[in-house]
Symmetry: C2
Subunit: 173 residues, 2 copies
């Protein structure tokens, strides 16, 4: 009954990134229908000292690419955080999805007990690969996924839990 | 390099439940300082058609206890959803934490390829154990964790990302 770090990470990021990409499309349709400039939604925040939608999307993609690259033992590609439009954010998501496909699953699987060192504010964090995935990368990934979703919900975008969950391998009986 | 379903679930729920328990304490302190009745915070919502804080806490605990019980192959204990006070919600979290300690880790680990059937609205959902954990239980757990956190943030409670992450095994160097 194997369960591996690559199984626990790559498909989760893939489904999540595709889900948030579709949520952004629904947000754009909502903005167009209501004659709201999309830049207003991209700058929306849940609280004045929380990040706006644009930054949430940047961090979601960072968690996916940086987390899985570090597990695979390679340096993550650096994305400049210069996106200002919906199309640029969607391109960033697409680039992240393409990068995930290049990773060596065996290298990720072999990292569960290896110490991973990663930037953490002005310091560095260190955790085993398994702990890094389950206690750092996934909570952060979902934190920003949910916050992005909640932002759009609070703006009136017509999305529900299924949009958040995305294309999961669920059989309904 | 083993990575198991019990490792990927039980400590994640434990850290998350303790984190949200501490967030609720900070919310209560905030309410007391601002002379806001705690029932106002417990009824707060991000959007009119999203669940209030009380329900978010109920679902967080449900995902943890139901998810892990089903992976262990046993019927989850049923909690009546009757909490109306902070103390009752904290007791629900404590009961969930105590229940998690009773589960058979070997049974959870053995369930990665076993079909799990679970209630899903008016239907039932079916997924393998590994898929159920990573594509259903964890996304739902974190969705409601983050929404509860975001609700408290939007009410002005003085919490940050560290409060959300909780007591993770992180070494700072």
């Amino acid at each position: 009954m194997p369960y591996t770090l690559s199984q626990a990470s790559l498909p989760v990021f893939e489904i999540g990134l595709n889900a948030i990409n579709a949520v952004l499309d629904k947000a754009a349709a909502h903005a167009a229908a209501k004659k709201i400039d999309m830049s207003v939604l991209l700058a929306w925040r849940l609280a004045p000292d929380m990040f706006p939608l644009t930054r949430q999307i940047q961090i979601i993609t960072d968690q996916a690419k940086n987390g899985s690259a570090r597990l695979a033992g390679i340096d993550p590609p650096k994305f400049e955080d210069t996106e200002t439009t919906l199309d640029q954010l969607k391109e960033r998501i697409a680039k992240t999805l393409a990068f995930l496909k290049t990773l060596d699953k065996g290298a990720i699987d072999a990292s569960s007990e290896r110490e991973i060192t990663f930037p953490l504010g002005a310091h560095k964090g260190q955790m085993t690969g398994a702990d890094y995935l389950k206690h750092f990368v996934l909570p952060n990934f979902y934190f920003h996924m949910t916050t992005a979703y909640g932002l759009m919900r609070s703006c009136g975008v017509d999305i529900g839990k299924r949009d958040f969950m995305g294309g999961i391998p669920l059989k309904t009986i």
